[in-house]
Symmetry: C2
Subunit: 225 residues, 2 copies
DNA sequence: ACCTGAACACCGTTCAAGT
DNA sequence: ACCTGAACACCGTTCAAGT
């Protein structure tokens, strides 16, 4: 039974758990109060308001990132490591993944990945603008992959997800065969994924390959042999 | 003054406008009723519930896509055209961009792009799994780029965005110079963008380049000369 | 066919008050 | 220092009733 007492950390942890089990919409001040056996207003002692709670949840996403493969590794491997680390972190709290945006350039751990990523791209030879774009893109890619792992319906609980997916599949079944041959053929792959690790690895590869080629193009343009 | 009468289309249009001007959270049944000079309950005659309204808004995002560069164009150009078309469409209604996920494989226009994209990838030589992944990734990339155009704070109104950005910049100013040299150097590029078209083009290029290289790797692996 | 009134079960938040 | 009671301005939704 061990009642957990109301602290800021406990609140954030509980909030993350609710978001994962249900939805981000399901984490409300009132609900949290209820779960701690306390009135809603009690939370306001520990947290300024809901927005600050969401910020704190966002900060938690960046905890325990391990992206350091050493400064001697090629930059593209370093970049891949960053994206993998972000994906791993976000998969721990998929329900709160979108909160990562707002805290990368703010929280301590967020700034640490940012610094690391910006450095490796800059030293690889990208311009300032490109470095900013790719670094942003890296985080976005991670969020997006966790959002789009086939079979996930962003913003819905487990039950609703199942219902909506079933409806989508049924809708596609009803489609005229001649007009949508590829949609029909690919539907199973669009709605399910028996190998999530493979899904993530393929997409990380795609992302890093894009950056690699782009840099190569840049350098041959600048210094044609 | 010309009062617009309450129809399903008018409601959806108004909802999209509110989301763009403010936030998706700002579109509520009650608010819409108010704007049409009608009680909230009146909307339920035209729309089953809020979820259906959001679905309808999502459908609208896929209207007027022009991604057809002809079947003779190389597949990578066709893919670039799809991503550009999606970006253009989402930029018309940035406030509702996330609603695109749920309707790609459902709405008529969504299914049309899906069919087109799946076909071009499949014919280019990707496996079924890869085709599904890249097609999903294409939409996600578009959504994500519109979300992350430097200087945008997803989920906040214009005023709030300005406030949060200012706070972020100030936070970075306060950072120890020695610990975060790259974050400090790159901050202007992370928080603003004087050339959005360039931003989008660079990232589309990155995405397509990744796909191109990945396919090339695949083919040399399958058929080593 | 289309809209309203009244009601219910929810939100976040403030502020004075309790211990 | 930490929590509560009462209150306010919001949500989505149902359902019987009006025209």
């Amino acid at each position: 039974m061990a009642k957990i007492d109301l602290t800021r950390d406990a609140i954030v942890e509980r909030a993350l758990a609710i978001a994962d089990a249900e939805t981000l919409d399901a984490v409300t001040i009132r609900r949290l109060g209820q779960e701690f056996g306390v009135t809603p207003m009690a939370l306001y002692w520990h947290v300024k308001n809901k927005d600050e709670l969401l910020d704190a949840m966002g900060d938690a996403l960046f905890a325990d990132l391990s992206y350091d493969v050493g400064p001697d590794a090629p930059w593209d491997e370093q970049l891949a490591a960053v994206v993998r680390a972000l994906i791993a972190a976000l998969r721990r709290h998929p329900g709160s993944r979108e909160l990562a945006y707002r805290r990368v350039m703010v929280s301590r751990d967020g700034l640490a990945v940012a610094e690391h990523t910006l450095r490796l791209l800059r030293e690889a030879g990208f311009t300032r603008r490109q470095t900013a774009d790719i670094a942003t893109h890296a985080l976005q890619t991670a969020i997006m992959l966790v959002s789009s792992e086939p079979g996930s319906e962003p913003g819905y609980s487990a039950d609703e997800t199942a219902a909506r997916l079933a409806e989508k599949r049924a809708g596609i079944e009803r489609l005229p065969v001649d007009d949508y041959p590829y949609v029909r053929e690919m539907a199973p792959d669009m709605f399910a994924c028996d190998d999530p690790e493979g899904f993530y690895e393929f997409n990380v590869h795609l992302f890093v390959a894009g950056a690699r080629v782009t840099l190569a193009e840049l350098q041959t343009a600048q210094a044609p042999a």
